[in-house]
């Protein structure tokens, strides 16, 4: 009779690790970091319209940054990279946040029109500010934790438009260089939180593919100096 020792049977997971890669502004930084840890990104860098780039140890799956928590939570991707802004906005998604990758640094801010007092005036006279944002939950949490009442207006497109034509008194948005704000005559009034790219993992994959995920985490930590 063979003696069963803890951890020996273990699961034999299927195929290469699936890594969710964010398209958009985090893509270049992500591919650079993946190159640095020895993941082949040539196919993902090509002009290909493909969404999935199979590899021997790691398969890259490209998607919108805001979809990364959805895929990782469900286990459709084992691990992923996305911005802290996305994780904060979708804080009810159960994913393990393993590492701050340091790149893609930007700030979540409250901004208003230069020289315009409508934020303060609405607060004084109406008791609440009207805030346009793509991040309603981050905005609501920020104002709640600072004891102010706001009406958040969720918009999908160019958020800078909202205060310019009177939809809102101000905006809560992600700012990298601040150029877009400046070009639209907007200025930062409050800084809410600083956001960087994060390495996340599915809860079950983190348990069942521990060696692979720990190895990748260690290499990523080294490559990003975290």
């Amino acid at each position: 009779m063979s003696v069963e020792v803890a951890g020996t049977a273990g699961a034999k997971p299927d195929g290469p690790l699936k890594l969710a890669v964010p398209r958009g502004s985090l893509l270049d930084g992500t591919l650079d970091v993946l190159d640095a840890v020895g993941v082949d990104t040539a196919a993902a860098r090509s002009e290909s319209r493909a969404l999935i780039f199979p590899g021997e140890q790691i398969t890259l799956v490209t998607m919108r940054p805001s979809d990364v928590p959805t895929y990782v939570e469900a286990g459709a991707a084992d691990v992923g990279i996305t911005g802290k802004d996305v994780l904060l906005e979708q804080s009810d998604r159960m994913v393990y946040e393993l590492l701050d990758l340091g790149y893609g640094r930007c700030r979540m801010v409250l901004a208003g029109r230069v020289g315009d007092e409508s934020l303060g005036e609405s607060q004084r006279r109406l008791g609440m500010m009207r805030i346009a944002t793509k991040y309603p939950r981050i905005a609501e949490r920020h104002f709640e934790s600072t004891g102010r009442q706001v009406e958040t207006i969720e918009v999908k497109g160019s958020i800078e438009l909202a205060p310019l034509i009177g939809l809102a008194d101000g905006i809560v948005d992600l700012v990298a260089t601040g150029r877009t704000l400046k070009e639209n005559d907007l200025e930062v009034r409050e800084e809410i939180v600083e956001c960087t790219a994060r390495f996340v993992a599915n809860r079950v994959a983190h348990k069942l593919r521990a060696a692979e995920i720990d190895g990748l985490t260690a290499k990523l930590r080294e490559a990003t100096g975290g």
Binding site: V3, G7, A9, A11, G75, V204, K207
Partner: protein
């Protein structure tokens, strides 16, 4: 005409019901074969009775007043109702007591794949059997249950609910920062965990120790890795886990077990050994359990206890995914 039903609930039609019934019968057979008689309790209980077991029923979505103005709540699991049942109906009985159940429970989760607001749990409670023997028996039943469900690849994570609580006490972390740290740990937010630990005034190397500790999972060897990290709390927790693992190995039922020092269950009543169940075919946890040696005392019965519960619908999803993957093999 289409008539809506509340979010997170669903109808079950004959084909699915047939498969679920087969699963029900297989599980109940395992439970009864191990001496765990099936019990049923009301789906609605007095809110204050449920709150006695888990002070966090405030997050129960379904609370309402009856015609007398009493506050009722839908149960969010079966462990608390069974603790209540043991105290009221088996007060003088000779322990250990063994019960099993297959029952619906209700939670205010965001409905999504594999997670509903009304869901079925299948599990056992072993009342009056202390660690490690009681824990070992529960793991043994859990193994047999997973075998009966045909989930050959399923893994049982075994951790210790007191490890980080005791470690933080050892480090002198109390009050709000303690809760913040345990919260980060439960969510496995390692970046936030590091921030909270530093904010609590813990030295940099001990911060690294705590984070490293939460990442230790695998075979028995992780207990040695943990011991190398040192400290009285780690020593005690690894001794408890080691004792359980040794007993499991002796009974030949340790094969599925993975030691996991980062395990934290989000229910408030666990102490000592805690369990979680995974299957590689699905990304959600299949179930969990562990010891709750203090829970019965809240109902006036001072007995150690342990148990587990599987989310039946997720087990069913895992069965389907596994058969798809294996082509039925």
């Amino acid at each position: 005409m289409i008539h809506p039903i509340p979010p997170g609930t669903r109808d079950i039609l004959p084909e699915e019901m047939g498969e679920l019934r087969r699963l029900h019968r297989a599980l109940i057979e395992v439970f009864e074969g191990h001496g765990y008689g099936e019990v049923a309790t009301p789906a609605i209980e007095y809110d204050e009775v449920l709150a006695r077991g888990d002070g966090r029923t405030a997050n129960s979505a379904y609370r309402f007043f009856d015609e007398r103005g009493d506050l009722l709540a839908l149960r969010s699991d079966m462990t608390v109702p069974i603790a209540r049942l043991v105290a009221s109906r088996f007060g003088g009985a000779e322990p250990p007591l063994r019960f099993s159940y297959l029952a619906n429970a209700f939670r205010a989760v965001r409905p999504q794949r594999g997670q509903m607001r009304e869901f079925t749990q299948a599990g056992v409670e072993l009342i009056g059997a202390p660690a490690p023997a009681g824990t070992v028996e529960v793991v043994e039943v859990l193994e047999a249950t997973l075998d009966a469900a045909g989930l050959d690849r399923a893994v049982i994570g075994l951790g210790d609910a007191d490890l980080f609580r005791q470690l933080l006490t050892e480090l002198g972390v109390e009050g709000e920062s303690r809760n913040a740290i345990l919260g980060r740990l439960a969510m496995h937010d390692l970046v936030g965990l590091e921030v909270e630990l530093s904010r609590a005034g813990i030295a940099a190397e001990q911060v690294d120790t705590c984070v490293a500790l939460s990442q230790l999972r695998g075979g028995r060897e992780v207990l040695d890795q943990a011991r190398a990290i040192g400290g009285a709390a780690v020593e005690r927790a690894t001794a408890r886990i080691g004792e359980t693992v040794a007993a499991l190995e002796q009974r030949g039922v340790a094969g599925r077990v993975q030691v996991d020092l980062g395990l934290l269950r989000d229910l408030g009543y666990y102490s000592g050994a805690i369990l979680e169940v995974y299957d590689p075919a699905i990304g959600h946890v299949l179930g969990g359990g562990g010891r709750y040696d203090e829970l019965l005392r809240r109902f006036g019965v001072d007995l150690p206890a342990a148990g587990f519960a599987l989310y039946l619908e997720r087990v069913h999803v895992a069965q389907m995914e596994e058969s798809r993957r294996g082509g039925g093999s």
